[in-house]
Structure formats: structure tokens, C-alpha cells
Amino acid sequence: KWRISFQISAALRDGQVTPIELCQRCLSLIKSTKFLNAYITVAEETALKQAEESEKRYQRGKPLGILDGIPIAVKDNFNTAGIETTCASNMLKGYISPYNATVVQKLLDQGAVLLGKTNLDEFAMGSGSTDGIFGPVKNPWSYSRQYKEKTVPKSESEHEESKWVITGGSSGGSAAAVSSFTCFAALGSDTGGSTRNPAAHCGLVGLKPTYGLISRHGLIPLVNSMDVPGILTRCVDDAAVVLGALAGHDPKDSTTIQDDFQPFQLPSLTDVSKLSIGIPKEYHVPGLSGEILAVWSKAADLFKNAGAKVIEVNLPHTRYSIVCYHVLCTAEVASNMARFDGLEYGHRSDMNKSTESMYAATRREGFNDVVRGRILSGNYFLLKQNYENYFVKAQKVRRLIANDFVKVFGSGIDILLTPTTLSDAVPYIEFIKEDNRTRSAQDDILTQAANMAGLPAINVPTALSERGLPVGLQFIGRSFQEKQLLTVAKWFEKQVKFPMIQLEEVNGHDHGVFQHQKSASIS
């Protein structure tokens, strides 16, 4: 199947397709799926130049690696030299990065073709990809045959306008970009679940690596102690390939570990009898849909029937992780957002009376309500009179949450299996009925603790819901044991055989792309 990097890479090496052809097809598909609003910036010229260079290398028989010529997209909170980086905020509209984030540079060094920057919630704050200045991202599955078959619209236009579902967030643009075949992989970021959540809603593999494995240099920070770059792909093998290109110490990010990282190919596990899978009972939260509970249960049985040990475990402080996150996140945000004052980059107000009033006006004009709200809350928790009771208290609770995991993994559990989201993707009109903070608190509940503890976690698309939308499950692994985590995820992916999205909403000439992709899978 051409959706898999290994095969596309082989096709490029054999000359079945050229990097320029591939790039052009993806750019064309981006145009015809513009209504998804997945991309903020499409870097057409530079992408074609990169594709040209790649083509020369293939012609010489010297590709840089598997990723040479592979079209990718990057969330718009990563710095990309010469390309606008907005964080979907007025504060950075028009800001042209003078440098590449380390992860972007690493991908480019491998010959990947950067198609563009993807849409997100403003400054990555949100769980719907609905709160950015460029508008919400639409989940490609809204236009799938699978979803349309399950909903009976009153009229054709009524369906499209009122029934489209969210991608989840905050890396929704990246998820939509991969899910609609416009690229083979995309970078997201993950602070509370921002890569895994949209992965689950868009039927993708979403990997949150261990904190400290991948450089954050150039990723515009939200929470320095929890942020990680995330990887979105259509299959687990692809995620391993991208991880291989990105992981490793970066002298420019002192929070990356010094250990040598060896890229790996995933073995095809056949025997799971030595595996110990933990099912944390606290993840059976109120609000978890019956459907997802059933999928989770079925998955546990799958492992059991294949011979693995499946054990119920306790992570007693799980229910405090959202509150803890709320305090730590807003506190770090208050600090991180202080850099936006209009002097050196970004939006600057016309107000000129004094530095402070210029800063205040700039920030008033540049930030949306969500961002401003978090800054104010964060500053509240950091006030001298509140510091011990809120900030330090939250840091103590953080240790308790992290220790829960240490105990469980120390007792012989290899991997945890949990749901990723509470339900399948909701329609946009439903989602916006609640405010951002409420939504984030609800939606991050299953993903946040992994960020608190710095552990690697991955969403694997598992099944379609009754509404024809993707449902995913989450695996959480031990620190820096990505190989084991991905190996188990790959085994699971093979068992569940998640269906490919059947997108009809593409123009005639792009239908050819899908035909080609489908016929290539037979050969």
C-alpha cells in the first residue's frame, strides 16, 4: 500500500514514481481538500525545490534514506526557516522564523519534503483545533463514505454544514493532513494529549515519545517540563521510521538525554505470551462511552486470547492529573508567554506611551481569550501567597502521579492499555457549546498523566464507531522503551486491521491518486 513509507520509498527507488510527481500530487490534493482547513501555510515553491533535489539524488542512486522525497507537514508551532510560523495566533501572524526547529532540520537533512505548516488551536491550547485565528479544522472522516452511510441528513447541504466533526486537538491540522493523504507523516506536539487525541479522532497512529528523547529546540514552548514533539502517521512502522530520524541528544536542548539512540526496525511479533498488559481501572472514567469501553474490553481479550498476561492495575492518583496539569500548565504558560511583548518579533501595538502600556496593548491585541485566561490563572498560582499552596502542591501531586506508574511498571507490567478519548469525534456545533477549559479538562483526562510522568504513549486506530468514525486505544510504555511500545502497538495494529478511510470528496483528477494507491497495493 502506498500509504506506507517503506513501500513508497521502494517505489521512489525503483522509479515507479518520482519525488517531483509525488510532491505535485500531494500539493494538488492539498488544494482539493482546502475545505478541511488543515494547512495554514503551503510552501509550494520550496517543497518543489526540495523534491527536485531529492529526484537528483535518486537519479544518482544516492538517496539520503527512507525519508528522502517523502512529503511531510509540520504543526505551525515549530519554527521553520523562511516560512511563516504563527501558532494560529495574531501574536505571531507574519512572523517568519529565522531558523529551523531541530526536528524540522533533521527531517530536511533526511531529504523529506516540507509541504507546509498545519493548523492548530492557538498556541496549542485546546483539544479541538477549533480555537485558532484561521478557524477550525474539519475532520476528513466527516466526508468519508463510512460516516455518511451512518447519518441520515435531512438534505445534502444540511449534512455537510452542520454534521462535520472535529479533528480533536491541538494538532488537528497535522492529523487532518495525514488522514486525507496529503502527506505521509506530520509533526504535532503533545503536552496533555495534543497528538494522541487528534490521532484517535482521525484514525491515525499518534506517538508521544518519552520526554527527553526528542529535541524541543524550535518548538514554541507551552509547558517546558511536559512538551514533546509528536509524530502522526498512518501506520506504526512509519512512526518508527520518523522516530528514528528525530530521536537523540541535541546540544541545543539541555533537556534531551545524553544516551545514544539507535534507530530501529520493528520486529513482527508473533508470540505475546511473555507480555504483561496492565489495565488501569481508574481509566474507566465516568463519561467514557459504552462503545469505547467495549472496544477497550475487546482489545484486552484479544491480548488474553493470544496468551498475554492481562492484569487490572491501580494508578490511584489518576483523577488528580487534570487538576495538577491545570496548575502546572498555566504556571509555565504564564512564564513562557512573557516573551511576547512586541519588541523583537511578532505583533506590536501602536500604543507608544510607555513600555508597559505597549506590552499590555500588544498582548491584549495578540492573544485570544484562552491564552489570556491561562496567563492570568498561571500568574495567580505563582503569587507569593499562593505559590506553596498551588504551584508547589501541584509539583508534589505530580510526583505521586509519576510514582503510580513507577510502582506499576516495577511490578512486572510491560505496557498499559487504555482508551485514548471518551468518545468518537463530536460534531463541531456540539463541541463549541462548552468552553475551551471545560473541553480540555474533559478530553485530556485519559492522555494527560503520560505527560505528567514523561512516559511514551501511542494511539493505535482500532475500530469504527457506530457513527462510522475512528476509535483508538492508547498504549503507555516505560520510559525510553519506545521499541517495546511500538512493537506491541504494531502487533495490535495487525490484529485489528483498521479500515482505510473512503474519501469521496476529491475532484476527478485526484481520484486517480487513490486509484493508483489502491492498485499499487495489489502488486
Binding site: T255, Y320, V323, E344, E356, M358, L376, R398, R399
Partner: protein, 108 residues
């Protein structure tokens, strides 16, 4: 509650972000209420955790200059500049007091 007008005014000065309207103030009150749940947890004898990598050594680079000379690139993104300076309005002028400035909190 502890979220008085004085505290709100203080926050506006610290954050250089304003509450704008009643919704902004309510948002803070709800955020504090939400955070209060933390006090249900017994953290006696528990050390605060700064980083999940606390058991590892943090290495610092050698204090050698390895890059720079990029004045032009750095100035490119600034709106107001003169020669090689970023230009700021006059400093050391504090934000006006509550009574004197335009803020929603004035009405409180």
C-alpha cells in the same frame, strides 16, 4: 473569596494582560475553584517534582561561542528599529493605577 479586586489589579500588572470583562474574572474564579481540588490530596513528606529527568545529570555546553553574527536576521522580525537597536517606548513608567486606567476592573 481570595480573588479580590486588589488581587485582580495586581495580576493585570504582573501579567500585562487584562481581564477585559466579567467573563475574564469569572474564568479566573472558576480556575481557582478547580485548582482547589488539589488540597484533597495528602502530600505529607512528598518532595515537589521539577522534572521527570531529575535522576539524570544535566549537562551544560562549553562556554564557547559557536554561532552568532546574525544581527540582520534577528532585526528582521522587529517592527520598530533604528540601526542595530530594537526601539522601545519610554520605560520606568508603571502602568496607571486602577482608578486612572481603562480597565474593566474599574467598575468593580
Amino acid at each position: 473569596s481570595s480573588v479580590t479586586v486588589e488581587v485582580l489589579d495586581h495580576l493585570e500588572h504582573l501579567a500585562l494582560v487584562d481581564f477585559r470583562d466579567l467573563e475574564g474574572v469569572e474564568r479566573l474564579r472558576k480556575a481557582v475553584q478547580f485548582a482547589d481540588q488539589l488540597h484533597e490530596v495528602n502530600t505529607d513528606g512528598v518532595e515537589p517534582m521539577d522534572s521527570v529527568l531529575e535522576d539524570r545529570c544535566l549537562y551544560l555546553r562549553e562556554d564557547d561561542v559557536t554561532e552568532g553574527n546574525c544581527t540582520k536576521e534577528l532585526l528582521n522580525n522587529a517592527r520598530e528599529k533604528v540601526e542595530e537597536y530594537f526601539v522601545a517606548p519610554p520605560g520606568n513608567i508603571p502602568l496607571p493605577k486602577l482608578e486612572e486606567r481603562e480597565t474593566f476592573l474599574q467598575g468593580s
